[in-house]
Assembly symmetry: C2
Homo-oligomer: 216 residues x 2
């Protein structure tokens, strides 16, 4: 894909910064249908329509875990117990905003997110999840044995040290997300150039990428 070369160049140019692999992931907020007031028809029957009510958008910093092999899917590790999992399952469109602080480049990458936890029925996906689990450090794996994220803790609670067997496979709380890019909006704030990459669809097949220069 044409944007992968730009992204690789940005990763290389910013590799000396620990935070260069951090980006912001926004998932679509929950769409919960809200019933409209009960309406009565002239024939005495009543019906209830619903409108889509939008919740709140959610935005959080996550870490780039590389591309999936042989494709452009971006991998992210996450805790299956966090709020975003439910949100993403309901509405799987997401957008990454990745700003490279040294080279002044921004990539906005939008696409479909796939949630791969231990309940997946696809052996290939379970294998990807296992691979991504072993690719992360033992320290980061041990986070998934801690308390659920966002649960109130008492002030005198100590974070317990948890030990994890380095050879043990993924725990239940470990979830792999993959984002399959459909559109990449690239802007370079030094050269003041912006490129828009769009994946073109033909029938059931996504094939090529189209690039267009747009005003910044």
């Amino acid at each position: 894909s044409p944007w992968r070369a730009l992204l690789q160049r940005a990763l290389d140019a910013n590799a000396h910064l620990k935070h260069s692999t951090f980006f912001q992931l926004v998932s679509s907020h929950t769409i919960s249908p809200v019933p409209l007031p009960l309406d009565t028809l002239t024939d005495g029957r009543s019906f209830q329509a619903t409108v889509g009510a939008a919740g709140r958008p959610a935005n959080r910093t996550v870490v780039f875990r590389g591309f999936q092999e042989q494709c452009d899917k971006i991998q992210i590790n996450t805790d299956a117990r966090s709020n975003k999992i439910g949100e993403i399952r309901e509405w799987p469109l997401g957008e990454i905003c990745w700003y490279f602080t040294d080279s002044w480049e921004q990539f906005r990458i939008s696409g479909i997110i796939d949630v791969i936890d231990g309940s997946s029925l696809d052996p290939a996906k379970l294998q990807q999840r296992e691979k991504a689990w072993f690719a992360s450090s033992v320290k980061s794996r041990s986070q998934y044995l801690g308390q659920s994220p966002g649960v109130p803790v008492a002030n005198d609670d100590h974070i317990k040290d948890v030990h994890i067997d380095p050879s043990a496979g993924p725990v239940d709380a470990y979830c792999l997300l993959t984002l399959d890019p459909e559109k990449v909006d690239y802007v370079n704030l030094k050269s003041n150039q912006r490129l828009m990459f769009t994946r073109t669809q033909e029938g059931d097949e996504f094939n090529d990428w189209m690039a267009e220069k747009v005003s910044p």
Copy 2:
């Protein structure tokens, strides 16, 4: 507000980094009601219900332009011709994700966004907009005289130099956004501590902030 002290400390600790005032703003995507298939009732009348269809979430890097005086509203400059304006008008909930790369602190600030362009009927808001306009550099003001963002440009187009009268007031394309925080989710990745601040509402008045320590 209790979280303001934490944010000020983070701003001070990261002040040597040009990008410390950059954060990611996500606006809710467009909610466009989609008509359901026409339904016919037993009395022969037809009705059409709609469901909410969600578009795509949008996430972009913007610059912190300070707090509005005497309150906690966060100011952001934007181009009235960009897509986000329409999105925000339709659904004004937004979330900021602000990661401080040196101190490893993340603030997720969610709240209501107000769009203040030249068409505002509120003299106080127009005054805020003018003030924010003059507070930004002449160079950044001149951006609003350029081409609309995201419009295709030919490869041989040269970016024209635009000159702006430093004493001239805000141009049409200049828009001030303010985000009024309702919830602040703070996490410090060095100390592994997380605090959740929530504004409490009593009747029509928002008054106090509640802080709770939660698991990271």
